[in-house]
């Protein structure tokens, strides 16, 4: 309690000064009573990320290591890929960890993000009620499964929130050549957990990242009907996560040093091991891919970019 009281006093002091009108940047000072002597000690790194990395508890599990190493605080804001990138675009975060390569590429091309690395991956799965009214169980093609669901007009719950999962779902419909619409297609505008619950209650199908599904499996009756690549399913259901620093040339207030320290740390063998050791309900949720013997230049640039092609 004594720590809280100190924070309270610091916060009251800060709050009283800041008040409503003449606010000054008190956010950093509140955390400055840190014993460490590193140059960045006491600073705060703002990470905007997706609900899937946050809600599975991964970040809470691995961040203490980084915070201890540098004597800093990581503020993780779970927003969904679209919103996380938008916050970064407005200069409100220092580093982004998201999972929609198309949106990441656009972010980089517009100059907002730099030093992108492939971080880790898991996969998407198509889940639905055990009774499987549309009969998609065991299909080896995700697009075929979606087309079958659409033809059967079986209820399908869409995230509808411009998240990484939603983006993937729209790409899949696109690849399937089907334009979903009608009473059976429900856009919920919610996080993955809620979407799974809605699908559960309606006996509907939905696309979920494997991590969130595993973390919630004990509470819902939905089963995996089409597996992702981790369990031998189609490659199109891969779910790669990337990490990028906000370009300090665009937003000079971005904490670029610390963002790069974070990217360096999370792509290091130690943190990558921690990611791979993180389990929920006895299952590994994320598979690290930053440490590799072979070079992968495509992770640094928008997908398909090549200096030879003159693509700008």
């Amino acid at each position: 309690m004594s720590i809280q009281r100190r924070q309270f006093i610091a916060a009251i002091g800060g709050g009283a000064l800041a008040g409503i009108a003449g606010c000054s940047g008190t956010g950093g000072q509140a955390q400055s009573d840190n014993g460490s002597s590193a140059g960045v000690a006491g600073e705060t790194l703002t990470l905007t990320t997706t609900t899937s990395t946050y809600d599975t508890g991964l970040l809470d599990a691995i961040h203490p290591d980084f915070e201890e190493m540098y004597g800093v605080t990581v503020d993780a804001v779970a927003q969904g890929t679209g919103a996380a990138l938008e916050s970064a675009r407005n200069g409100d975060s220092d580093v982004v960890m998201v999972h929609a390569r198309g949106l990441e590429d656009e972010f980089m091309r517009n100059g907002y993000g730099i030093n992108r690395r492939d971080l880790m991956f898991n996969d998407f799965v198509i889940v639905g009620p055990e009774s499987d009214p549309a009969g998609v169980q065991g299909m080896s093609s995700a697009t075929e499964a979606l087309t079958t669901i659409a033809e059967a007009e079986a209820t399908f719950v869409s995230r509808g929130d411009n998240s990484g999962t939603h983006t993937k779902e729209l790409n899949l419909w696109d690849a399937a050549g089907t334009d979903p619409g009608g009473d059976w297609y429900q856009e919920t505008g919610t996080g993955m957990g809620e979407a799974l619950n809605i699908a559960n209650q309606q006996g509907a199908y939905t696309l979920s990242d494997r991590g969130t599904y595993i973390s919630q499996r004990s509470e819902i009756d939905l089963v995996i009907l089409v597996q992702g690549p981790i369990e031998g399913g189609p490659e199109i259901l891969a779910n790669p996560y990337g990490i990028m620093a906000v370009n300090p040339g665009v937003h000079d207030n971005a904490n670029y040093d610390l963002a790069m320290a974070y990217i360096g740390w999370i792509t290091s063998p130690g943190a990558q091991d921690a990611i791979s050791n993180y389990q929920m309900n006895g299952e590994q949720l994320f598979f690290p891919e930053a440490v590799s013997e072979n070079p992968d230049f495509q992770q640094y640039v928008p997908e398909g970019w090549s200096s030879d092609s003159g693509d700008e």
């Binding site: 309690m1 809280q4 009281r5 309270f8 916060a11 800060g14 709050g15 800041a18 008040g19 409503i20 606010c23 000054s24 940047g25 008190t26 956010g27 950093g28 703002t46 609900t51 809600d55 970040l59 809470d60 961040h63 203490p64 915070e67 605080t73 990581v74 503020d75 993780a76 804001v77 779970a78 927003q79 407005n90 200069g91 409100d92 919610t190 996080g191 993955m192 957990g193 809620e194 799974l196 619950n197 973390s215 919630q216 509470e219 819902i220 937003h251 207030n253």
Partner: protein, 238 residues
């Protein structure tokens, strides 16, 4: 600190899947943000209510309807406006208030001010003219009359403050947007309030824990109301 015993009782009642200090810290942030915002709102609103209650001026009805409209502001819209203001690209961007409790206090200030102003104004104008006249006849100055009216209206003003507090502490849309719902990796809340914690649990489908946190929120509001009413009663006895 009055919330300490409340928070310590909790884990005894239900076995929550949270780390030590987590629930206590979100209760603390909720109270800190709402109480600060409501205090500032009250300091801002009461003078306005007094001026409007004791004087007549052109456009008074218009100001009144603006205040009444303010009571219906959707909190999400207020959150977006405050986000725009405190975002790095916004007019207050240089102060780096995004994702801080200060930003949350700003949005709750905007939300709590209209109900506090409107309800206290109603309380002040509701004091019967007889009371004003009596005070005046007994030789009271303008200030004395005002003090008598305020004394008579104190219950209404307390209700106004409680209405503002109720709006602030139960609000989820704006604090989520401007606060970011942040908890440190040691499980201590930075900008997570009870309402945004409930929203997070619901997002993950943990409806049981969401309900428990909801019960905590209701208990907290009840406690604050009881304390304020009690203070009002003690005032009567003196």
């Amino acid at each position: 600190m009055p919330l300490e015993p409340v928070a310590q009782l909790l884990p005894a009642v239900v076995d929550l899947p949270f780390r030590e200090g987590y629930v206590r810290s979100i209760i603390f942030v909720s109270l800190y943000v709402s109480v600060t915002a409501v205090t500032l709102s009250t300091l801002f609103s009461l003078p306005i209510a007094f001026v409007m209650g004791f004087t007549d001026f052109r456009g008074k009805q218009f100001v009144k309807s603006v205040i009444n409209t303010g009571m219906g502001f959707p909190s999400v819209v207020v959150g977006l406006v405050v986000l725009f203001a405190v975002s790095n690209q916004g007019p207050l961007g240089a102060l780096e208030l995004i994702f801080t409790t200060e930003a949350m206090i700003m949005s709750q200030f905007v939300l709590a001010t209209p109900p506090i102003t409107a309800v206290s104004l109603a309380a002040i104008t509701g004091v019967s003219d007889n009371v004003r006249d009596a005070a005046h006849v007994l030789g009271g100055t303008r200030l004395d009359v005002a003090l008598v009216v305020v004394k008579e209206a104190r219950y209404g003003i307390a209700t106004a403050v409680l209405a503002g507090f109720g709006r602030a502490i139960s609000e989820v849309g704006s604090v989520l947007i401007v606060g970011g719902n942040i908890v440190s990796s040691s499980g201590i809340s930075k900008t997570r309030t009870l309402t945004t914690a409930i929203q997070l649990e619901a997002r993950q489908g943990q409806y049981d824990t969401a309900m428990v946190l909801g019960a905590v929120l209701v208990a907290l509001v009840l406690t604050v109301n009881a304390i304020v009413v009690r203070l009002g009663d003690e005032g009567v006895m003196q």
